[in-house]
Symmetry: C2
């Protein structure tokens, strides 16, 4: 779907550049003015390329190029199989609340809710805005990866009979090191350790630098499974105010580092989950500098950094790390194959402890799966695949934002993520999103209430929606229904 659309546009656009350069710029300018003056309303459908060309006596290529330019400017958006629409101007979330240190979390209620969500994971009749893992073959190069894997089984079946040891497949580590250059990170294959996805990396990193009773710093809101994970390790946490657009409040962080012994800082500075921001380069540089100055390990989750919408992508926090205090990890579960669960960590100065801990907790990762991913990265299909994914997610997010603007209560705000497929909604203050999510679940619509992303009773009116499903009428109706329930709760 979106993938083909993109390739198609792209070649048309190249032709248009030479033939109709002036005409398409003039057309784009006219439409842009009409949108800005409100002559064409947000959410309305533009003429089809064919109709517009006929009406204005222009070539198809000219109109296509004009629409494409408007799309790049963020004024209109293509929706698969539907045409072009004027983008909705949905406001982004407000300033964060000041953190409260009160820690009475309705843990049981929330955990029960997480269990309820997970238990519906595999049921195809559910409308799932919950799971942050792309659903469906459209998002993965499954056929190609399967062929590569089968090829390895045929040609190097010895691998299956070998005992893998940390740090894991050299070929894959070399590929990862090479790819990290784009993200500003200069490491060698020897600096990397393969892990069982990012979660394993996160566990290893936390265990390597904390003891039970230690305190770590987390962003708020953050990945909801981080809290039970820390609890299981007996590690305490402090939530640092995190701005929806700029990230962790570094002044507050520095004040905390000066006052309290902190064992580690856990952060998602690039395409944050759930907020969607990417921290500025200046702030990343400052955070890395603070890590070195205060000698506090920083655990950086770079899971969605490959899915940044900007090109070239923003550098990782690790790019600014001079003393090896930043540990960065990511995986291929969200872009290549969720079943393969191969991740990596660049543990900086904590390399030895993490290598040993990996050996003591699960030995190593499968060489077969690692080599398959390495071959996929090496043969050049990955960059093209990522370009398609970024475009698909960006379109899908815009589509869903416009549906939210249409169906959700007035006053609803939604993040404009810098990459990935996660939306963060701020509903009017009087809406309890746990109640909303409960009612939705009863109607087979899954979404995750904001309360889960903090342990200090915040974000009661917030909601996380993932946009990594194959868009269909069922999903559009699901979102509409979710908006209706929200409207009912608002009254």
């Amino acid at each position: 779907m979106g993938t083909d659309l993109y390739c198609h546009h792209h070649s048309l656009f190249a032709d248009a550049m030479t033939e109709t350069a002036l005409l398409y710029l003039q057309l784009a300018d006219k439409i842009a003015t009409a949108i800005q003056q409100g002559i064409i309303a947000p959410g309305s459908k533009l003429l089809s390329v064919r109709d517009c060309a006929r009406q204005r006596k222009l070539s198809i290529n000219t109109v296509t190029a004009a629409y494409r330019l408007l799309e790049d400017k963020g004024l209109i958006e293509a929706r698969p199989k539907s045409g072009y629409f004027v983008r909705t101007q949905l406001p982004e979330p407000t300033q964060p609340l000041k953190p409260s240190r009160a820690d009475e979390r309705q843990a049981d209620t929330l955990n029960a809710f997480i269990e309820a969500i997970l238990s519906h994971q595999d049921q195809p009749d559910y409308v799932d805005f919950g799971l942050a893992c792309p659903k469906g073959k459209a998002f993965y190069p499954t056929e190609r990866l399967s062929r590569l894997t089968a090829g390895i089984l045929r040609k190097q079946s010895d691998l299956v009979a070998k005992y893998a040891l940390p740090p894991g497949s050299l070929t894959l580590r070399q590929q990862i090191a090479q790819r990290l250059i784009q993200l500003g990170v200069s490491v060698s294959a020897d600096d990397l350790i393969l892990t069982h996805g990012v979660l394993d990396a996160l566990n290893l990193a936390i265990r390597a630098v904390t003891k039970p009773g230690a305190t770590v710093i987390v962003e708020t809101p953050t990945y909801f499974n981080l809290y039970p994970l820390l609890e299981a390790l007996g590690v305490n946490w402090l939530e640092i105010t995190t701005h929806p657009l700029t990230g962790m409040d570094l002044d507050e962080l520095e004040a905390t580092l000066q006052q309290t012994p902190i064992a580690a800082i856990i952060t998602i500075p690039t395409v944050h989950n759930p907020l969607g921001f990417t921290m500025s380069r200046e702030n990343k540089a400052r955070l890395a500098k603070m890590a070195n100055q205060y000698q506090v390990p920083v655990i950086e989750d770079a899971q969605h950094a490959d899915l940044q919408f900007v090109n070239p992508p923003e550098p990782l926090l690790k790019a600014y790390d001079e003393g090896g205090w930043v540990m960065t990890s990511a995986s291929y579960t969200k872009t290549l194959a969720p079943d393969f669960r191969i991740g990596w960590i660049a543990p900086g100065r904590f390399h030895e402890s993490i290598r040993k801990l990996k050996f003591l907790t699960s030995v190593a990762e499968s060489s077969l799966l690692s080599e398959a991913i390495a071959q996929f990265l090496e043969n050049g299909g990955y960059e093209r695949h990522l370009r398609n994914l970024r475009r698909l997610y960006s379109m899908q997010i815009n589509h869903i934002r416009s549906l939210i603007a249409q169906y959700f209560p007035a006053g609803t705000r939604a993040s404009q993520p810098t990459g990935g497929f996660i939306l963060w909604l701020e509903l009017p203050d009087n809406i309890n999103s746990l109640e909303l999510a409960r009612r939705a679940l009863a109607e087979h619509i899954v979404c995750i209430p904001g309360l889960l992303y903090s342990t200090s009773q915040r974000y009661q009116n917030c909601l996380r929606l993932t946009c990594c499903f194959e868009m269909s009428e069922k999903y559009i109706q699901g979102l509409k229904r979710l908006g209706e329930i929200a409207c009912e709760l608002a009254n």
Copy 2:
């Protein structure tokens, strides 16, 4: 090699039964008497089947059947490509020392030695008696498993694009549950959780029932990586005297349970690593009863239970567990594919905590790899494969025991394992096996000194040798050289 030999014998033996029943019994009896009277010396080679048949004017079938009978009686052994040899009567290890509670372990020295061993893991010119993982394709059904895996990739490539969740592949859990019946364990697929090998299961089990500062009971000697694993979790341990032939001293265990709060008992009651014993049914029943009576979780490692030499196999400890206090785990890394690293745990009453902990630490195991193993188990090749492995290991162990009797210092004792491929040697008291292992490593021979298997300075004169390599002149020479170094150290 050994595998083909076995099949060949087997059919010949069936013919012989009908044709030459009396003659072969007479021949076997004569040879047995000669061996018992010392007329044929331990370690000496018997006439080849062909030569014996010619000399005695018997058919090939008759001689083969006689040799086979002697082999079954443990008097002679077949060595691949070499013929039949009179088995060596090597004494088994003595009574264990009383445990000392002194806990000054030369941790750094030993850890450095482990690192040195691991760093030589992949070097083909090393003679490796260290790694407890079969080396080489002879020990794995690699071709068949690879074909099955490739078939799944072709027919069910959807699996690759799906997010696996605990407890993991239902098909595999069903197969495991069915196989466990043979080992006396009655569980359903729902009672099982898939893990990243046994080590992951062990970590999950320990974490589920301990907090930092807790004390667990371990056998001595035991799996050497257990100590750093417990250290990393901040858990303390007590070593309970473990007899080389009968296992953990249950009176001592009970006295300890009465005196000290114990968070868990960690045990390998079936084919112990490194001692090789299998605890008697009576003792297993008593241990399971104590777990229920004192309400103390028991973590049972059943890794080598599928490789028991007796038929039918002895039941697991879990078979005697009435209250769900026993957690049992094993994997397919040592019998099917070390690279696939799929293990399982039957966590009894700790099911919920382990399921959650698995999700929080590494989500789940690959469905592709799990389904491949499930298909291998289902299609019936596994039992035949295990029969071949047991026979191969049993032969190889006997061969190596006879080489030890030949080349090692007088007074050396060696375990007669009840399954698997691990030998435990007790050298004369004045031999320091760490020094022996160090000198051997310098000559590219890897073996593991006994000191590593305890944290109370015991087993300084002991050595663990694994017998899971493809036998060759290089290995025979390596063992001879190891014996020579031991003799040098003995003087």
